[in-house]
């Protein structure tokens, strides 16, 4: 673990046991939600975690927050192993890792004012001594999240705000504990295209101003490309490709990453191009296919792919991919 690494995830596994079909049934089946994920998040870095629904990206975020227990592997935050933290230690750790949820229409309590919503984490963590200090911090976070002037917002309710403003409230609520890492789970997918850019630039500014590291979880490689320093592509609970954004976009090494890249709509009808459309849906994460888990949908799969499970290998500096056929 070098100096700049803030969060290190090693071989993380999260299996959800399935209910037994009957009393005598052996309950040994599991949903492999996260199945051996390793990565590092550096200080002040934006890492995008990209994949289809069901690939395990949200479960991964929940385990990092300590909201799900971990089946195997370790999470090291700032030199401290936080894998099995419990109670007060877990709560303290959570101040440093905050989450921005997907849906600003559902993640704000409609009966609380904006001021109360943003102040709630401070109350839960018993971080402020006086009302004045609390108001001051709420004020600062609202303004940092672009809700200016803050006085105009503190006494309003969520339904009085637009979607973009609500998402800013959610971000202000995450900032109030002064975290070092933000886990942003699809923070713009519910918003209109015209306001997505302003939320993304807000996150980009926070990274510069506060030095926050961001783990940006999305299914949209397009928005990830604008904003992330590195991209990790997940498929069925594993990272199949990881590397600097430009490098992955220019030279995607894994066939899944190539297909994903080819179907992103390009807003220019003159550039309609060959799309590599994968058939069907990702296989069931309960009975994983043998060998490479992508082989049933892979356009270039060979016999060897049905037998061997590939591991991440270097493609170029800092760029790795898990494909048996890469040269």
């Amino acid at each position: 673990m070098n100096q700049s690494t803030l969060l290190e995830v090693r071989n993380l596994r999260k299996l959800f046991p399935l209910k037994k079909a009957g009393f005598w049934e052996a309950g040994d089946k599991h949903v492999h939600a996260v199945d051996g994920v390793s990565f590092e998040l550096n200080r002040g870095e934006v890492l995008a975690l990209v994949g289809e629904s069901g690939c395990g990206k949200s479960t991964l975020a929940l385990t990092l927050m300590g909201l799900e227990t971990i089946s195997q592997g370790s999470i090291v935050f700032d030199g401290q192993d936080i894998t099995h933290l419990k109670g007060p230690a877990l709560r303290t750790m959570r101040q440093h890792i905050q989450m921005v949820f997907q849906d600003p229409y559902e993640s704000l309590n409609p009966l609380m004012t904006i001021g109360q919503l943003v102040a709630e984490p401070l109350v839960v963590h018993r971080l402020v001594r006086s009302k004045a200090e609390r108001a001051d911090r709420v004020h600062r976070c609202l303004e940092d999240a672009g809700l200016k002037p803050a006085e105009a917002f503190v006494n309003r309710f969520p339904h009085e705000l637009s979607g973009g403003q609500r998402q800013r409230v959610v971000i202000a609520g995450a900032l109030v504990l002064e975290p070092t890492i933000l886990l942003a789970d699809e923070p713009v997918s519910m918003l209109d295209v015209s306001i997505r850019a302003e939320i993304l630039s807000l996150l980009a500014d926070l990274r510069v101003k506060r030095g926050i590291s961001i783990l940006f979880i999305t299914h949209d490689l397009g928005t990830a490309a604008y904003f992330a320093d590195r991209v990790a592509v997940m498929y069925l609970g594993r990272i199949v490709e990881i590397g600097p954004t430009r490098e992955v976009l220019a030279n995607p090494a894994h066939p899944y990453a190539r297909a994903l890249l080819s179907v992103i709509p390009v807003p220019n009808p003159r550039q309609r191009r060959e799309r590599l459309i994968l058939r069907g849906d990702p296989p069931d994460p309960i009975d994983l296919p043998p060998g490479c888990r992508f082989h049933p949908r892979c356009p270039i799969a060979q016999a060897v792919c049905r037998e061997q499970d590939p591991v991440l290998q270097d493609v170029s500096r800092g760029h790795q991919s898990a494909c048996l056929l890469q040269t």
Binding site: V193, D220, T245, I264, V266, P267, P269, Q271, I277
Partner: protein
Amino acid sequence: MPAAFADAPLLLDVRHLSVDYVSRGQPAAHAVDDVSFVLREGEILGLVGESGCGKTTLMLSLMRLLPSAGRIVAGRVDLLGRDLLSLSEKEIADVRWKEMAMIFQGAMNALNPVRTIGDQISEVIVRHNIAGNKAVLDGRISELLELVGIPANRKDQYPHQYSGGMRQRAMIAMALACAPLIVIADEPTTALDVMIQAQILELLLTLRQKLGLAVILVTHDLGVVAEICDSVLVMYGGVTAEYASVNTIYNNPQHPYTQQLLDAFPDLSNPSDRLTSIPGYPPRLDALPPGCRFAPRCSVAFERCHHEQPPLYQLSQFHLASCHRVESE
């Protein structure tokens, strides 16, 4: 009209359509104001705009499905030369599904959970007396499912046994049940992953090719529009901002709203461009600005824009834009 479709038979001709929402003691909200467009056989029209710009209202008024507060206050909707607005309730009920079918936003999540997919598709067919007996009906359902890429043997399964992409396919199969000429799809891919979205878009293109189907695709995603549409109608605050072929919209946009919308969209072929957002919010429909509806958010608005509403200027044979700057050029 894009060259490729200029000769295709005209299906739908919407002229100067205006829709208000009225409620007692309050000024009427002009949700759609003087919108005109045409749709030809095999054409895919993209209807683009932010939430609340009137796109769904416009589509609902074509189907005569407006909520009770909605009033069509002006205009004509001609489907194959017949004015839909003058039809009786019974007559319009026959037009729905048979000539024009709509896939509502989020409909794939509104499938009845306790009835099989095949059963739900059959309801449409039976309602319109299309299939004579059970065997014909079963054959038709299998055919429809195969058409949208679902194995026919899954027709007896329930919605929860389908993935999101398959449920959306089933919705498309249902829309096609009575072999309509036009399918209106309201945000059909918004809740789906990019790969499933690509599958659905490809399916729409195949159906256009196989059946000569015309599609109105309602979306706020300009990437989707660029991928499959032939013509584009950009709406803002209930009015037409710009209407042109897809190539013109993307390569020679004239309305500042279209231009800014394009700048707000991430373009992977050019990732170094900075994304810009459009400041401010769309106007409230019950309190519209006096001049151009986009003027308060427009970066190039001048004095005239704030007190005079621009008409739709014709820039070329198939390019209309409502912006005062266009006239002065």
